[in-house]
Assembly symmetry: C2
């Protein structure tokens, strides 16, 4: 939808007039002018100053009309006898005009009577709400929901960033829980979804073109098989200044992040040889972690620290410094940061706390100002530091981490960062980066995403966040990134729905979390419901190949696990393949007569390794199957490690033939299944003991990403 | 609601007439007679045979009426001009009578005209549905939902076993998602919930009194502030025989289960000294497990097995035999079982497979018949056996398990049984019993619950099940049991909602899982969403003391964990306490000025052990706080084991003073937090590393049980 097709000048004129008068709400006629300028359908109407004009207008409208007095002196039109509904013909309109004017004069003899508004009566079909509001994180968002109880009591409403594409607008109509109502459930006429999507798109373009429109409601919109008409319009504008956040270009971000992650030299401001000091831990981790670049300890009281020549100031370092890691008390940071600026250090890693998080916003503002002045990109403050394993870089006071792999993790909270580290270590999770974001005074998630997007060492990203500084920048980057690599987000504070003060319906409906949820999904992000899920997705997603279609097959030795795995598939949004007869027959050849083909394929509990092997191989080799879920049952005939080894071997053989499908497994058995699960994980088969849910949830996360990335043929939505 | 107050004879007469005619549906007047007999409010009405009678009826009704032709020859009343709505006065009723009769004669001159029905017009308020259906598992269930889109598209409906108490009926009105609508959301008048509950109760009593009523719909019922009126009644009856399942008495069950779990002697039918044979594993497990009763191996081909004298048949055993464990092929079971019957063995444990699960229903029916004939209670067939640790009894072919503790677990599937065993062993879960139920040809969940209810060795029960043989017996037992001890159920197949063929609205809405969900909750059962949750609840619930109220407080060292723990509380249905000012001040005394009191109480990351200790102690000692959730952040100042030991000590000290509150903990840190979590678990503090969700979920499960058991002051509902 090209913005050029709209009459922006008309809208500009209306808004300027409203703002000039210091008003924050548009009148109904002003709202109508705005709607008309953007082609948002409203009831046909006109102003009649004579009974003949009323009759003529009614004739032009060609449907039932409502006639309403228009007078600046009459506020309560109905009370004044100034409204007549259900006017069916030009003749009736003529009579209605006369009656209304007479009533109005009787009500207030001195009232100035502008005329009588003759308006098409709308109604029928379904009442829906289309709106827009200004979200503190994401800026302009549009909303769509069914009118009445559904949206008000059940909060069945969906949001997207404005402006949006047609497909996104369509996805909103399908995105509410009660979508079936609009598709014609209960024998009603299905709505014209294209017409509705068109209105949504026009509204989204309007608020994008005019940022001073703070809130916008079309409520109700009558949607039917023949179109959509907005019966009431409410528009609220900002009375103050409207500004957009300034952002560096993607090239600038990429350049500075590349330097941060791949520094040729690191200075440690506050380096120490005293055990237990942060400046000592950072030095040791850099050295012991195997970082190959230059390390410059900075400490005015030492000549050498851990065998490295020590400088009293960054200024004294002979060579260039790419990153300065700060390990000094907050009060000394500003001075040292200025020295870094003078020296031309492009990146600072601010481990110290004592800034905004302890209420000292002023000190944080001061260092942000210094960083801006010198064009220094700053991580933190109040962080544990960061790891980037491809460079053997452990610029943190925690313990080193060296299991290299494909996932980059970030966390806003230090506690969560420590949980990431512990989990990673105990599961031997392959990691490219772990980055603390802390107070996010400068570098934030979208800066890092911009780097990870093009980083060949990173195949997936997992982020813990409590808020986004600039939701729109995040979405733009994530949207691009997620076409290539999965991004998992754990959004904390998801259930703390602070009811926002809002003067419009849409504004009141936009609880933070629902907006986050819809817009993160719109960006192709996989949202993790909790910390443990984020960690498990981070561990599993880079190992799983991308499925090529939706056909998931369960092969299980335990019927009981099969039922639970099926439940888990529904929960995870996976589709159990409808097995075609020839394939069914092929599976039956390997399983006992009382086993169940179909899906789950129940090979039954007493089977030897060869049955697992044959059925798994068939599942891998048949091109109609896109992913396998295995349910193993510990027996004497097929012990856990035998199952693990045969499965790994069969999967490996398929990979050698170029068949690489996602395979996940649930192992039910005695404690030996733990070792077997680890073995499978080591062979890129996502396996867990004592749970049917977790392997399926990880596969489901991969599918959610692949679907959103348009890799399964549905296109993005 | 005493059943005696109803006119059962009238209902009996109607139903007998319908069944005598071979019909399965009642006519509207028959439905009305049934409703009247049970005081179910319907529109006032009467049959007028003259215009005067019509006027008089309209006067008696005293409200707007609708007049309808009554004629066996006129099916399409409206087409015949036989319906006039909105009749406002006796005069209008008189005219309406004449008009209708004239229209009817014009429509069909030869029609017999019985008269004109004069009926109160109902409408306004909210349309709700009250119904009843016959569930294959639970028998008669009642349903309640809002009419229209909500119930039909969003399936917002709730079920309970019939008959029900007033409080249960009230809980249905509060139990739908859109309950706020009935409480007067959107400025509408709140409904008279007592009047609605009264109708629900009457319907529930009706279907309980007359099992031949298969399905029952009141749709719509108009509910307003002044009452509830059913505008339409639909009743379907069984045309065939209606029978209730026969059940042994609770005393009989308890006696036989006590003998099964505490046998003085066990015979192993099919005992073997050959490694790898099931009969060998069972013998070894009985002996090595330390079972102190008599063990009788049965095998015609051996004189002695594992040092025990062997008998060729159960008949040859000199003493009494309490339990016979079968480890022989299916085809030999019937013969040996008959010998057990002749010998008077009261319980058989049927490990063999090859019965209904492999399609051999006939063989299963045969052994069930033998068991019935000889009054043998039978576990299985197709099971791994059972463990009862208080008797050191491992009557299974799996490995022995000896960590004694308070939870009894059962599983319908062998695979899930193996997962229980492995999980128990790796977490050192204290167990009283693990029982395989397999094909459940005889002994089922409610038999075992009856035993565990009074078993002092069992403090909680966790059950994996795919179906219930007799849902009503289960609910009755569970309802009694859950007032004393938690019962956790993992219902597999929860998402496979087979759409049932049903002729009524209520019947169509009763997807299996929603009925299970509501009725298990009605029974006070805690439903686990998945296998891993069932296992974690089983492990944690017996360790946690019962909370005394709803005030939950989070004390955290990591602000980030605090936010996630709050999210988890909302998810788990827990209420974060509103900290009163004096308590807030008391906490503030211990935490840094930039820490956050309130709830979560954020003591901040850099604090020494003394801060954790002081705040945890305060949380335990203040009687207004009922449960604590701890968020630990791994630091050098307070390492994991220091935190674990101080927490265990402070909690122990409080227990010694008689203060025993539930305490759960989430540990974020490097791998040392795993050992610290284990230590805490050993001290009855539910602790997990790398997850904020799991400890809160276990606490939430304890609360769900305590609330349902009426232990938190709300009473059962």
């Amino acid at each position: 939808m090209a913005s050029a097709q709209f009459d922006k000048a008309a809208v500009r004129e209306v808004l300027d007039a409203v703002r000039a008068e210091g008003r924050d709400a548009l009148t109904a006629p002003e709202g109508k002018r705005v709607a008309d300028a953007y082609g948002i359908p409203t009831p046909k109407e006109g102003l009649a100053t004579t009974a003949e004009e009323a009759a003529s207008l009614a004739g032009d409208i060609g449907a039932a009309v409502v006639c309403k007095i228009v007078s600046p002196d009459i506020l309560h039109k109905t009370e004044a006898g100034g409204v007549i509904v259900g006017v069916q013909s030009p003749e009736q309109a003529r009579d209605a005009f006369d009656t209304i004017v007479a009533n109005a004069k009787a009500y207030n003899a001195s009232a100035t009577i502008t005329g009588v508004q003759v308006q098409e009566m709308v109604g029928g079909g379904h009442e829906v709400i289309i709106g827009a509001t200004t979200d503190p994180t994401f800026g302009k968002v549009v909303a769509f929901g069914l009118g009445g109880v559904l949206v008000e009591v059940l909060k069945d409403v969906t949001f997207r960033l404005a402006p949006l594409e047609r497909a996104e607008a369509r996805s909103m109509i399908d995105g509410i829980k009660a979508a079936d109502v609009l598709r014609g459930a209960r024998g009603t006429e299905p709505v014209d979804a294209d017409a509705l999507a068109d209105v949504i798109q026009r509204v989204s373009q309007l608020v994008a073109d005019f940022p001073e429109i703070r809130e916008f409601d079309l409520n109700p919109v009558f949607a039917s098989g023949s179109g959509a008409v907005a019966a009431d319009i409410r528009i609220l504008v900002e009375t103050g200044e409207v500004s957009e956040p300034a952002r560096p270009s993607q090239e600038e971000i990429l350049e500075s992040m590349t330097r941060l992650m791949n520094p040729r030299s690191v200075a440690v401001v506050g380096a120490s040889d005293q055990e237990g000091k942060i400046g000592n831990s950072v030095m040791k981790n850099l050295i012991n972690g195997g970082y190959a670049g230059e390390i410059y300890p900075i400490n005015p009281k030492a000549d050498e620290i851990l065998g490295r020549k020590c400088y009293s100031s960054v200024a004294d370092i002979p060579g260039e410094v790419d990153v300065a890691v700060f390990a000094i008390p907050a009060k000394f940071v500003a001075g040292s940061l200025t020295e870094c600026g003078e020296k031309g250090v492009p990146a600072a890693v601010m481990i110290p706390s004592g800034f905004a998080e302890t209420g000292n916003q002023e000190l944080q503002d001061e260092i942000v100002e210094i960083a801006h002045r010198y064009n220094i990109r700053m991580l933190g403050p109040n962080i544990y530091g960061y790891y980037y394993t491809p460079q053997n870089l452990c610029a943190t006071f925690c313990t080193p981490y060296d299991v290299k792999g494909g996932v980059a993790l970030t966390s806003q909270s230090g506690g969560i960062g420590m949980a990431i580290l512990g989990f990673a270590r105990t599961t031997k999770m392959g990691v490219s980066a772990i980055v603390g974001l802390g107070n996010k005074s400068d570098v934030d998630e979208d800066d890092l995403l911009t780097y990870f997007e093009q980083d060949d060492n990173t195949q997936a990203v997992a982020m813990h966040l409590e808020d986004l500084k600039d939701g729109r920048a995040f979405v733009e980057t994530a949207k691009r990134m997620t076409t290539k690599k999965p991004v998992v987000v754990l959004k904390a504070g998801r259930t703390a729905l602070g009811a926002r003060a809002a003067s419009s319906h849409t504004g009141a409906l936009a609880g933070d979390d629902k907006v986050y949820d819809d817009i993160l999904r719109q960006a192709g992000v996989v949202r993790a419901p909790g910390l443990n899920e984020m960690l498990e997705y981070a561990r599993g997603l880079p190992l799983l190949p991308t499925p090529k279609g939706e056909n998931v097959v369960i092969i299980t030795g335990a019927g009981g696990s099969g039922v639970l795995l099926s439940d888990a598939c529904v929960e995870a949004g996976l589709s159990l393949m409808d097995i075609p007869p020839d394939l069914d027959e092929a599976f039956r050849r390997y399983i006992p007569p009382f086993g169940a083909a179909g899906n789950p394929i129940d090979i039954t509990g007493g089977e030897p390794p060869s049955t697992y092997e044959a059925t798994i191989r068939l599942g891998l080799e048949d091109p109609r199957i896109h992913a396998l879920i295995l349910g193993y049952w510990h027996t004497i005939v097929t012990p856990p490690m035998v199952f693990a080894e045969l499965t790994a071997r069969v999967v490996e053989e398929a990979r050698e033939k170029g068949i690489d499908k996602p395979v996940v497994a649930s192992l039910a058995g005695d404690t030996e299944v733990e070792k077997a699960s680890d073995y499978l994980f080591d062979h890129r088969i996502i396996a867990y003991p004592y749970t049917t849910e977790r392997p399926v949830a990880v596969l489901g996360a991969k599918y959610r990403w692949a679907r959103a990335a348009g890799l399964l043929g549905q296109g993005r939505a």
